[in-house]
Symmetry: C2
Subunit: 172 residues, 2 copies
DNA sequence: CGCATTCACTTAACATGTTAAGTATCTCGC
DNA sequence: GCGAGATACTTAACATGTTAAGTGAATGCG
């Protein structure tokens, strides 16, 4: 732990230390991953008590503020890929937390909405969830939190359209 | 795509709009998730070309700077859970990218190190990876990037020891 | 020593991420 | 109105995340 072992005079090195790269643990992806994990660790226990995973909760929340959405738009909102969403919707429907009906105008489209059961579950989870979020805000600082979110948004913007030319998740 | 289809005249509202919560898409977990995805989207194609996943790459990078580590410490460094690491090490070993030997002092421990093949692969991937990182830094701004990482670290610190009392991943 | 406990790791089971292929429906040009 | 292409989703296949249980080896205590 306290042993750096990055000693230039270390002659016992079998193979390593030959590929020059940034310190791995300080890379941006790792920072983001660790930060997000630190945050989600706070929420998971509460969600778990209600039999919900993080993604299922995202979907319910996305549905709570609207009447009904197509699957594709829901995927964009909840930031899930189609296949993941497809599976989760199947399960949520089996649990009667959501409802699905085929759009009249376009038989390909499936309109998804939250059910009465789903709303009841949300009402049960929301207070705890909000309390946790409030505690995180208190610990980190509200203004700092806002600033962080601002920077995260800017980072996203910086990289928009850099990757694949056909970024499906891009905001039309 | 350009069709919103959120018809206000749809009087068939089933249930929604009854659970008061923050705007879902502006929650901290979502911001972190989107930001990280925006970043990783840049790296994945290059890694994929070399037959590596993001996690495999994390492991190789973690191994490149040391001689050998126990699996448990590697898990902490690469920020992977034991079971995931166990599987990935099995695969990387089958591909001769890493080597494993049981510790003499403690037969339970398994010492992992990167192989010559692994180093060769890293040497092949590193340039592109560094170039991508440089481009991200250029786009977002070096000082802003440093500031962001600083804030992410603080966020982590804020939440350390809030979740489970026995946070195994805590830095000793 | 004997044995319960702890430890390091693996396996198992289920859920999601990710890419590719499949299916049904729609659109459009002709 | 028909057939090629686009669209909206689903299924499939493989890899990882996550939790729980299993296995073998070390520790500690009587």
């Amino acid at each position: 732990m306290t042993k750096k072992s990055a000693d230039p005079a270390d002659t016992t090195v079998p193979a390593a230390r030959q590929v020059p790269m940034r310190d791995f643990s300080r890379s941006l992806p790792m920072s983001l991953l660790r930060a997000r994990e630190a945050v989600m660790r706070q929420f998971r226990p509460s969600l778990r008590e209600h039999g919900l995973t993080e993604q299922q909760w995202r979907i319910l929340r996305a549905l709570a503020s609207i009447e009904a959405v197509e699957v594709t738009e829901l995927a964009r909102t909840a930031f899930l890929l189609g296949p993941s969403l497809s599976r989760i919707l199947r399960d949520l429907e089996a649990r009667d937390l959501i409802e699905r009906r085929t759009a009249k105008a376009d038989q390909r489209r499936s309109m998804v909405s939250i059910s009465k059961e789903g709303l009841k579950l949300m009402a049960a989870v929301a207070p705890t969830s909000e309390a946790i979020y409030a505690e995180i805000t208190r610990r980190f600082g509200a203004s700092k939190l806002a600033e962080l979110q601002e920077m995260l948004g800017e980072l996203e913007q910086s990289l928009a359209g850099l990757g694949s030319a056909d970024d499906t998740l891009a905001d039309g």
